[in-house]
């Protein structure tokens, strides 16, 4: 029987460092957006249980974006605000600032809020001074947090001091967060010339589904449009369930832009509850190079595969806590990976077969024609089980084009010999070929 108790309390400084070290800055911003989007989806979340439900809601003309999210990156300061329903003081006290969820704690309406950690991690990642204000019909709150001071405070249990705010009308609800005293690495990254456009691209790719139906997002005043991914109508589709997770997989031929199949639109795209988790993956993670598919090569660039995981309990989905990567060991991912290999194989074999010793059998421009009219990947994901039908190879050609270089002087010698100075180079080639056929092979 133990007689002493060893100190095993977490150090806040280490805790913050561990929490923020593993998340890229772009993903941290997406974490902030997840909270706002999750709130925006709340009214319809009871309707979102399967991939088919996501499609039905997507096609429901009565549902239109109602929440605006504004993200402003300025010198030494980050602001994010939304006009969603806000957070009540009561919810803030009991749930919002708790690191992680208690066992069995599950919020029916959550679709993108998973582990109860993203908001805090994102704020900690950005800077030292955090001001958060939320207005709610039942009364909101203000938070004014100096992270460095909080980190030194050893009081147990950990708390944030919040100040209640009066209830507001439902048209005036919303939440805003301002982070100042940004950390040096954050400042440097925000000022590297690329960050803003990379963030816009990530938002566009990650929330294509939500941007169309639930929210509008602006970065530094510029509205971000969702990126639309389309797949050829001739594709493989299948699905499976594991517990309360449904998974729909499709594989086919993507859509070329400017006449080319672009790297950014090729490979596997994985979505969890409509949010893109990984995009255009061509690595062993998704089965390329040892997981049932060959090592990805440029000839596979027309390949497009999508995996839609959906669950009412977002924690059962195979995303990591950063939601920018896959938990490779999760049972549902392992199962999905086997299905992905089987689904993708027909398409990959077809693409491999485009190339023979005689050259390219199906030109890029003809690929779309053989794979029929493209449809949105969401629509493809909810179609009945079907199989990609590899287009029949073109008939084996009966002629081969012969080209070779010859010395001009030698061609002239032949023309002189034949006393036909007006012969072209190709005439000389054809004449000598026919001569060989007649005299050496014996064919007329």
């Amino acid at each position: 029987m133990a007689e002493l108790k060893a100190d095993a309390r977490p150090e806040k400084r280490l805790f913050i460092s561990l929490l923020t070290r593993d998340i890229p800055l772009v993903a941290a911003f997406l974490d902030l957006l997840d909270n706002s989007i999750n709130a925006a989806v709340e009214p319809v979340s009871p309707r979102l249980k399967t991939a088919v439900d996501y499609m039905t809601v997507f096609e429901d003309a009565d549902i239109k974006p109602t929440v605006d999210i504004s993200l402003t990156l300025s010198k030494g300061r980050v602001d994010i605000s939304d006009n969603a329903f806000g957070i009540s003081a009561e919810t803030a006290v009991e749930h919002v600032f708790k690191f992680g969820r208690a066992e069995g704690e599950h919020h029916e309406a959550d679709r993108l809020s998973v582990y109860g950690i993203g908001l805090k991690r994102a704020m900690f990642k950005l800077g030292n001074k955090i001001r958060m204000r939320s207005d709610h019909v039942d009364g909101g709150f203000d938070l004014d947090l100096d992270v460095s001071v909080w980190a030194k405070d050893e009081t147990q249990p950990w708390t944030f001091d919040i100040t209640p705010r009066a209830p507001v009308a439902k048209e005036a609800t919303g939440t805003s967060i301002t982070v100042t005293e940004l950390y040096d690495e954050v400042t440097r990254r925000l000022d590297d010339g690329l960050f803003s456009s990379q963030l816009e691209a990530a938002i566009s790719r990650t929330y294509a589904y939500y941007l169309a139906k639930f929210v509008s997002v602006s970065v530094n005043g510029k509205n971000v449009e969702g990126v639309s991914i389309q797949i050829g109508g001739n594709h493989t589709a299948e699905s499976f369930d594991l517990g309360d997770v449904t998974c729909a997989i499709t594989a086919g031929i993507g859509t070329p832009e400017a006449g080319v199949f672009r790297d950014r639109s090729s490979g596997w795209f994985v979505f969890c509850n409509g949010r893109a988790v990984i995009s255009a993956d061509k690595s062993p993670l998704t089965g390329w190079g040892g997981g049932g598919l060959p090592i990805f090569q440029p000839k596979h660039r027309p390949f497009l595969g999508t995996v839609f995981f959906v669950s009412e309990n977002a924690e059962h989905l195979p995303w990591t806590t950063t939601k920018s990567a896959i938990n490779e060991d999760s049972e549902v991912w392992q199962l999905a990976k086997r299905h992905m290999a089987a689904t993708g194989r027909t398409v990959v074999s077809f693409l491999d077969g485009r190339y023979t010793d005689e050259g390219t059998e199906v030109a890029s421009k003809d690929l779309q024609a053989v794979t029929s009219a493209p449809v949105s990947v969401l629509k493809a994901a909810v179609t009945e089980k079907r199989t990609f039908v590899a287009p029949k190879a073109a008939p084996v050609p009966t002629t081969v084009r012969i080209q070779y270089d010859a010395q001009v002087s030698q061609i002239k010698s032949i023309k002189d010999y034949l006393k036909r100075p007006s012969m072209s180079g190709s005439d000389v080639g054809r004449h000598t070929f026919n001569y060989f056929l007649r005299n050496e092979v014996g064919e007329e």
Partner: protein, 317 residues
Amino acid sequence: MPRSTGKFISYDLRPAKQSERMILVDLLKAGGDSGLPIRDYRYVGMGANRFYDFLLIHRYLGITRMISLEHDEKFVNRARFNVPYKFIEVENSTAADFIAEDTSITPSVYWLDYDGGIGSHIIGDITSLSNRLKLGDFCFVTVFGGPPKVIDRANDADRLVWLQDSLGDVSGTVSIEDVERANFPDAVHKILMTTFQNVFAPRMDGKFIPLLQVEYSDSMPMVTVGGAFLSEGQAVGIRSKIKSVLPFLETAEQKLYEIRSLHLTERERQLFDGAVTATGRRSKEHNKLKELGFKDAELGAYKDLLRYLPRYVEAIV
């Protein structure tokens, strides 16, 4: 590759190019006036056969350490024959190879004056230079401002796809409007500015300050972007000098200045000289120019470039 203007207009008659060179010289002079020992710098350029930039930089700044990069083996001998000063070394090397092998610790001015359009090799050269530049070094890049040949006949959407796929994230701020033929210098400008900003961002020992953002056209659009890698104190000093000497150059924001080609007769130039240097706004020269149909914007442009526009006269050498 597009044909350089110098290949079909006599190299001596490129007034906008000459203005650009003079502006760059003045900018370096401002660096000297703010405390940088410009006279002791090394100049690395692409002098071709005429070495006009080398001549100006020596004449006005006194620089005597000079290297001209000539990547084409066929032209090296001719370039060496034409060097105006013995202290100019002609290196048969691409910018990429030179930067990779250069170990000099001498403070330097690099001017990578390309004939061709924007491409990944240019982004690569700027990236390589970002590791090489020392505090106080200058770097300028000149690029053809039109669509590169490979996308010259493509439509706008295809041009944008090509830029995104060939150049990656540095083309992230380029819009579909920027890639229209008439606006393409804006696309090139954005790409170069983003590249400079991005490749120097990890350097903790200083900051890249953009000092020159100009476009000009003697017959084809060209864009020059560049600046210096400076400490905070150096940046304050040089910015303040440039503001007084070259007030039309923007050093805090992304703004492309157009060196306009005004195509004036000598008699008109005399009127312009008088009009833009008169104390009152309504001088008789000003009134005469208005009468001749010239606009205030042209007078403004002339005022900016008064000290830089060349005057060409026939001479017997």
